[in-house]
């Protein structure tokens, strides 16, 4: 049995740039901040959901299974089944995909699927050898044994690393994500100037969307305990320019790299939710669907070129649905790095790549930039990793409604060598 699965509504927090130290909200705080207004505007009660699925990569120790913690804090009741999913940068889309499959097969009717990430909460981590030393010290019995254990200490044991740095490094290839973007850029001949120009455009588009009020209803104001409120994505730089970005030094591969802080996604906190419903739930609660999920696809590739993930997963999706890239009117392709986005576009326009990797008859062609990331992306918004996949689906739906387009794809590259894509039709 396959049943249609609708996207009813959704909301997210403003994306808040991580500054120094933990931000005002934990992952679950963020999920609660944007979940409350979303649930408040539904015609059904919060406990009407069948389950809650939340993507989150860096779960903090106080919030194990953040999906369940969020569900309870949102007043969804003791009986609300909730679980957390993790596929790195695709986690927020994995939650939608999982919910989509439950509803499609008929085992659920109404699901709250989200993503939440507070990268500013990334812990300081003691090196493994330091932890082992400390365990040895704790085990040592008697003064002499303790003294011997203490004597084994090395300065390096006490040098904490920022957990995020390790998290953004692929364990198989030991390449940082930025390095994989350098590699993709290199393979497809992306220049620094092209990357910077792309980044500037991202900021301009987001600034324009904010000014036009296009994010109203999608971004919900968040309020913290200290009396502050947050009503917009604060990483945006409307005055960004190619000249300014040109001054930045490469951060991952000095001194000749292309990838700078300015043409990479920002380290950011944020959460996003979407509401998925079956035909029955739509009828029961009198809902107005915004879009229908047509299909979804995960693909995998060499982790050192993970940035090409979107090309692989979107290609499978298109083939299965007898479509080409030109049939897609609106694209959300997560902006992990400008070189990576541009690398994907170049790959689609690369005859050899399309023939031998994608199994097409030749180059798929150009994706019109007017159709891609129409209101900016992670470079201007930031990339709370477990949340971004959710945001691009939600924003794709809202953008298609505004633009009056019908068919769209949301897709992202995923650290570790994966790609995810979702085909959506606006209603």
């Amino acid at each position: 049995m396959t049943r249609p699965v609708y996207i009813i509504d959704g909301s997210r927090t403003p994306f808040l740039k991580a500054r120094s130290g933990p931000g005002p909200f934990t992952p679950v705080d963020l999920a609660v901040q944007c979940g409350r207004p979303l649930l408040a505007r539904q015609p059904f009660a919060p406990d009407a959901f069948d389950q809650v699925i939340l993507g989150c990569v860096n779960v903090i120790a106080d919030e194990m299974n953040p999906a369940r913690v969020a569900a309870l804090r949102l007043g969804m009741g003791e009986a609300m089944v909730a679980f957390t999913v993790q596929i790195n940068c695709g986690s927020g889309m994995q939650s939608i995909d999982t919910g989509y499959r439950y509803i499609r097969e008929g085992s659920a009717d109404l699901i709250l699927a989200g993503g939440a990430e507070a990268l500013s909460y990334a812990p300081l981590v003691w090196p493994q050898n330091g932890v082992r030393w400390f365990a040895g010290l704790a085990m040592a019995k008697g003064i002499l044994a303790k003294a011997a254990a203490i004597a084994k200490a090395r300065p390096a044991y006490f040098k904490p690393v920022i957990g995020l740095e390790r998290g953004l490094t692929d364990p198989i290839t030991e390449l940082n994500m930025g390095q994989t973007a350098e590699k993709v850029g290199h393979l497809f001949g992306i220049t620094r100037a092209q990357a910077d120009a792309y980044a500037v455009e991202s900021h301009k588009r987001l600034a324009n969307a904010q000014a036009q009020g296009w994010l109203k209803g999608e971004v919900e104001t968040a309020f913290d305990r200290a009396g502050q409120f947050y009503d917009h994505d604060d990483g945006v730089r409307a005055d960004s320019s190619i000249d300014k970005l040109g001054l930045l030094k490469p951060v991952f591969e000095r001194p000749w790299g292309q990838v700078t802080a300015g043409n990479s996604s920002q380290i950011t906190d944020g959460a996003s939710w979407t509401i998925l419903a079956s035909e029955e739930a739509v009828a029961k609660h009198g809902l107005t669907p915004k879009a229908v999920i047509v299909d979804s696809q995960w693909s995998a590739l060499d982790p050192s070129i993970m940035g090409l993930g979107p090309v692989l997963s979107s290609n499978e999706l298109l083939k299965r649905n007898h479509l080409t890239i030109h049939d897609i009117e609106t694209w959300e392709l997560n902006e992990a790095f400008a070189t990576q986005v541009l690398g994907c576009l170049a790959a689609w326009n690369d005859d050899k790549f399309c023939r031998e990797v994608l199994g097409l008859d030749g180059a798929a062609g150009e994706i019109d930039r007017a159709r891609l990331n129409v209101d900016g992306g992670a470079i201007s918004l930031g990339h709370p990793v477990g949340c971004s996949g959710n945001r691009i689906v939600l924003h794709l739906v809202n953008a298609m409604k505004r633009l009056g387009t019908k068919r769209g794809i949301a897709t992202e590259c995923i650290g570790g060598g994966l790609g995810g894509a979702m085909l959506i039709e606006a209603l």
């Binding site: 207004p37 505007r41 804090r73 003791e78 305990r225 009396g227």
Partner: protein
């Protein structure tokens, strides 16, 4: 979180010892159950007949004595004393028995009988263990103190609230508490009436262990068979209880007590300090002296009035009724009142949407809520949950699902009507539309409504978290069922309702405004502001009228004054022109940092300025206080309120009116209605017709 599963299993939570093993003679007790477990430990369960909470009455104590008598003969391995009520251990003495006491000797005889029972409990040769959950207050704590060990459940709360009734502990608590724990801490608790939680009780040494219900059987076994280490009074206690030290500490306590409770109005704290100063460290002597001291306090007018206030609160709670159906409150307007009402409702477990057009007021309301929750909620998780329930709602989505909407926007008729017009079509069927207006008649507000029967007033007082009164305002077209629901809602959020008919200023503002305006007339007569405030404080008001006006906000005083004057004319003191100028200049009182006083950190600076030596006169006090009684009588006569006792309760819980005087009507009654009328007439001749006694005094009883 509400759990349906725990609803089913809830009866299993309390560990009440062995089941179905009641001893044959146990059935003869009315208020106690007695069982014996396999270790030979007797479980004595206190379950007062026909009550939801345990209290100690003469009858209960007599039966307790009989039970102890039987147990003495049976010699079980140990005795567990605990409550079978979910609400807690013992809430204290049955205050009903304190009412109307006039003869100290009769009280002393009664209290002597009660002492004998508690002494008997203490003297038992069998290990006794009090297992305490929930409230353990006053007499209840004194029972626990007479046991050999005390085991607290995590949720237990301990305290001696006697001082709030103008008394001090009277069942041996003064002696046993000060000898068991640090007497400074013990005295502080008894002098303030504050309660402490189980953890604090453990750190003071008041209890020997803190645990959960699931470990009670094992904890009891350890206590009975000597495996639970008991907290013993430390050396420090002995030093602090040593006579010369006591003298120094006692004089410090007297000075501290004088700051909040002047001796002439509140004798109990001083009696308690004297008791300890004289007998601290000598249990037998202190126990003896406590009886006489307690009996003397019981017959004072302060104690009797405070006991009356206790029952006024109970009466108002009863008036609220049970069966609240309001789960979701939507508050419109996140200003000072709206924000604080929303925070209070969230604190009380309700889901609250707080609507405002702008994020700034919502953000500052959330901050105030977070600060309040940080103070009144002990657990970090409770604070978090309360904040989660307080939902900012900039799109007003809560209107559709709320059971109750409280409108708290600015006091402008057109604005309120505009708000109503936008929300009324979206309101859920059966929902209540309440206004927090303090000055606009409901008859005007309802005029544009499609369903005027859904409108009523819920008038909260500032600060919402401290003043317990809510005026529940009706008009002639209100739906009676909704009014009942609103009353139950007020009760459910632990506030006290007063039913009033729509009428300018309702009760409280109408009675309080002359108090503040008269003070301004006195200022014009060149009486110093501190002297005016001192006059009211000398009467027993918690705050003088000038400071109160600053606190309320001079703009609000002016608006309410103008509104009342437009209805009642010269029955109100004239508003001085300079008040208008002050308001125009933005000197609004506490909220702007300057009014009559300069305000720093929420406190009025009364020390700066010339030293004023003028003492308040009785005439000053009468000018400030008697109009309040006069308005209360008028409201009764007009039928704005229908119950004189409730008027007293409302003035105490809504304004802090000197509680030891029992309220403005009780005060008039005890001073004598004729005396009040005559004084008002004299004041009218001297100061103007605003003091003319109301016609209602003729029928005042």
């Amino acid at each position: 979180m509400h759990s349906k599963i725990m609803d089913v299993l809830g009866d299993r939570v309390l560990e009440l010892g062995p089941k179905n093993t009641e001893l044959p003679e146990a059935g003869t007790y009315k208020n106690f159950k007695l069982t014996r477990d396999t270790d030979g430990i007797a479980w004595l369960l206190f379950d007062r007949d026909g009550a939801s909470a345990n209290t100690l009455s003469a009858e209960v104590l007599e039966e307790f004595d009989a039970v102890l008598n039987a147990l003495e003969a049976q010699r079980p391995a140990g005795i567990v004393i605990r409550s079978a009520k979910k609400s807690g251990f013992i809430a204290g003495a049955d205050v009903n028995e304190f009412r109307g006491a006039t003869d100290p000797r009769a009280v002393a005889t009664e209290i002597g009988r009660a002492h004998a029972v508690i002494d008997r409990l203490e003297a038992l040769k069998i290990p006794t263990v009090a297992v305490i959950h929930g409230f353990c207050l006053g007499g209840g704590l004194e029972v626990a103190l007479a046991c050999q060990s005390r085991i607290a459940i995590e949720d237990a709360r301990f305290g001696f609230p006697e001082v709030m009734l103008g008394l001090h502990p009277g069942l041996g608590g003064t002696a046993r508490f000060t000898s068991l724990v640090n007497p400074m801490q013990a005295m502080t608790l008894m002098l303030t009436g504050k309660t402490i939680d189980a953890r604090k009780a453990k750190s003071l040494g008041l209890v020997d262990a803190v645990t959960q219900e699931r470990h009670v059987r094992n904890a009891v076994k350890d206590a009975v068979f000597g495996r639970l280490r008991r907290t013993k009074p430390g050396v420090l206690n002995a030093i602090l209880n040593f006579s010369p030290v006591r003298g120094i500490l006692a004089s410090r306590m007297v000075a501290e007590a004088g700051k909040s409770a002047p001796r002439e109005h509140y004798p109990a704290p001083y009696a308690l300090i004297a008791l300890w100063e004289k007998h601290g460290g000598d249990r037998a002597a202190m126990l003896r002296a406590e009886k006489a001291s307690f009996a003397d306090l019981m017959v004072t007018s302060t104690a009797q009035n405070l006991i009356r206030v206790f029952f006024l609160r109970e009466q108002m709670k009863k008036l609220a009724g049970q069966g609240n159906t309001i789960e979701h409150v939507h508050v419109i307007g996140a200003g000072a009142m709206g924000g604080d009402i929303a925070a209070w409702c969230a604190n009380q477990g309700l889901r609250v949407t707080l609507a405002d057009m702008k994020p700034e007021p919502i953000a500052s309301a959330i901050k105030r809520a977070a600060d309040l929750f940080g103070k009144i909620l002990r657990q970090r998780t409770e604070q978090r949950d309360a904040l989660d329930r307080l939902i900012p709602d900039m799109d007003g989505e809560g209107v559709r699902t709320a059971d109750l909407i409280i409108e708290a926007v600015s006091e402008k008729l057109e604005l309120k009507q505009k708000v109503y017009a936008s929300i009324e079509p979206r309101m859920k069927q059966g929902a209540i539309l309440a206004t927090n207006t303090s000055s606009i008649p409901l008859e005007d507000l309802r005029s544009t409504l499609a369903h005027p029967e859904r409108l009523l007033g819920l008038h909260f007082f500032n600060p919402v978290s401290r003043l317990q009164l809510v005026e529940v305002v009706s008009h002639d077209g209100v739906d009676a069922a909704l009014l009942t629901k609103a009353l139950a809602f007020v009760g459910a959020i632990e506030r006290l309702p007063l039913r009033v008919k729509s009428s300018p200023g309702f009760l409280v503002n109408r009675a309080l405004t002359p108090y503040m305006l008269e003070a301004m007339v006195m200022l014009d007569e060149k009486i110093d502001k501190t002297t005016i405030d001192a006059a009211a404080e000398q009467f027993g008001m918690p705050m003088g009228p000038i400071e109160l006006a600053d606190q309320v906000g001079l703009d609000i005083c002016l608006a309410v004054g103008d509104m009342l004057r437009s209805k009642f004319g010269d029955l109100l003191p004239p508003t001085p022109a300079w008040l208008r100028e002050k308001v125009a200049k933005g000197e609004l009182g506490r909220k702007t940092g300057r009014g009559f006083y300069v305000w720093k950190d929420g406190k009025a600076d009364k020390t700066s300025g010339a030293v004023v030596t003028t003492k308040p006169t009785q005439e000053m006090i009468d000018r400030l206080m008697l109009p309040m009684s006069n308005v209360c009588v008028a409201c009764l006569r007009e039928g704005t309120v229908d119950n004189a006792d409730m008027v007293d309760g409302a003035m105490i819980f809504g304004t802090g009116y000197a509680p030891f005087r029992g309220g403005p009507l009780n005060y008039a009654r005890s001073r004598g209605a004729e005396n009040i009328v005559a004084t008002l007439r004299t004041l009218a001749v001297k100061h103007g017709d605003r003091f003319a006694p109301d016609a209602g005094w003729e029928d005042f009883k």
